[in-house]
Symmetry: C4
Subunit: 210 residues, 4 copies
């Protein structure tokens, strides 16, 4: 164990926290059919991430593996999600990011399809906009980007990078797919994820009602 | 401890009751992204209230603090919600009020946006109107006010006071924000909160269906 | 205890079964704001029924009392629901009925408002129609009556009796109020209740979608 | 016991796994009013299947029985669902199938009614299409068949066989009734079931919103 290039004790603690947090999201139905993936930074060069294809409601420690910032498995023969690059590009670009959460809720998927043509969802007039780090008032707007889906991860990652060059943001949707949200730690990433989910759900309901 | 200006034992019991009641509301998704705040009267001059920014599904005793009726922290360096004044104005005005609950459910937020222009939601024809203290029949109507949102709490509090001068009521909505509901104790405040949530949900569904 | 006009042991067992069954319904949100009431037959002349105004998610044995078939409390100073007569009229009329369940779900209340004008909800084309005792095929229809609401229980009970004179049925809606469903025992009454809830929810969704 | 034509130990393990999996589905409300049925292959010639009419949220080992591939009870006097033939025809036709799940969710029932005229639901543009075994991209479409309902199981089974002659598939809807989904084992069948449920829910929501 002492030859691992990361701190095994820190991995254990991260895995426990991540698994407990994911279980709550899974119980809400945001990870259907073994979809979704989740990660947490271990140290400047390593990330703990869920193994591909597991049931997110029943994760155990063995379902969390380590990758480097290029997304390569470290000290394991396990395979992480095809979308690992979408996690690691955020850790590599922003040293302060500590956690990335990707879920597939009904609301996220429906909103992504509905607003894919516009390329973003406009969120304005909600007190809960204050949930995003750096916002101190409801009197502002957030544009949540919607990217076209692709099975080509470098293409998707390049689109995300182009967005990040233009604006600071705490999440994005992929069309027909789901939401990526992140934060400085698990608690903040979860708060951002819950806020996006809630605000998207409000937008969908208001569209039905107006 | 014996120098506290309030009864520490009563605070412990209130905190336990409040935390248990909040957990139920949180499990229904009414407190997304660390939003919402809750309070209970300790004695004529003191109120137990949730500390700002905590995850309402996992509160512990240290997440409940004490303020006086002007909303100033008592015997603590913790900070309560920016909206503390909206709680304490009710305790100061009505000696019989024992509990104030503020939640951010999807239904409450969507209804607040939809009816902000009208300034109120008209609730009529429901048996559950009998859930409000003082009502003994479904053959009456309740007007639930919707206030414009503001980050300026004295302004919001003055609007609430103006409403209370005109009518007796057990709750109000703030646009894009959520619901305040209250009662003589935790059980009654919870019953009023559940009744408002249910009746608002009925109104939204009927609007989609008619 | 030996002077009770009913079997105390049977009451204890009924209370335990009823409380466990009600808890499940309450967790689904079908008993908001201390609404709803529930009963089970003890013997030909006595019925166990929920005490008025209690939180249906936290019932204990003391929250179940006994009434006779005219709805009068037996060996207790507790008060049962104002709607007790709607329970006892069924037990008095049909010796085979063993359980009556009355809930206030969102779907039931919305459907009752929407179909009050028509006086009934037409349910046809569903496999789940087979859940009603006596039905062996989906190729039939059920008309679920919707009665006008009233605070005058003898008036409501007379309307129910008039309906029962014309047709056999396993439930009815009251406008703005909720659903009554019954069966030969708790399991069958629960199955009927779940079937009505499900079929009403289907009808509302189809109305939004067509 | 040693004269059983199947492995009793395997039956016990299958029953435990099946019951645990069904409980999760039941808690989501996908098995209302004792509806739905579930099975798992024991060996090339035997299938474990739920006994007819039981509450799917509270199954115990005695609620699981064995049938042969013609659907006849084996070493039991219990009766399986009238729809047993729809399970066994799949096991008989495809040796690799290990599990068949049939549920009655609101979404499944509503979608079946809505798309019964078209005869299928067209699912396209979703990342979650990758949840179906054999699919490796979202850039494909799945046609989920909708069959007319019938109480005549040989007729229904013949319709299913005709469909299977034309296309490979992992599930179908029956009008007004619910969904059948299957897979090589319980985990895969559950993943397919969750994916169909999710995609149907997306289609219904999008139809309301567009």
């Amino acid at each position: 164990m002492d030859t691992l290039p990361f701190d095994g004790g820190r991995l254990s603690r991260c895995a426990d926290d991540l698994i407990a947090g994911i279980r709550v999201l899974s119980e809400r139905g945001w990870t259907p059919a073994t979809s979704s993936n989740f990660s947490m930074r271990l140290d400047p060069g390593h990330v703990a991430i869920t193994v591909s294809g597991r049931d997110k409601g029943r994760l155990e420690r063995d379902d969390i593996m380590v990758v480097d910032l290029e997304g390569r498995p470290v000290a394991t023969s396990l395979r992480s999600s095809a979308e690992t690059l979408l996690h690691t590009q955020l850790y590599a670009r922003y040293p302060e990011i500590g956690c990335v959460l990707h879920t597939h809720s009904l609301v996220q998927t429906v909103a992504s399809r509905l607003f894919a043509g516009a390329g973003h969802v406009h969120l304005e007039g909600y007190e809960l906009l204050k949930a995003f780090h750096g916002n101190h008032t409801h009197e502002m707007a957030v544009e949540l980007p919607v990217l076209p889906n692709s099975q080509d991860m470098p293409v998707l990652a390049a689109q995300v990078d182009a967005l990040l060059d233009r604006q600071s943001m705490w999440g994005y949707l992929i069309d027909g797919h789901g939401l990526y949200a992140w934060g400085r730690d698990l608690a903040e990433a979860t708060r951002h994820l819950e806020a996006f989910e809630f605000l998207l759900a409000c937008e969908l309901e208001l569209r039905k009602l107006r």
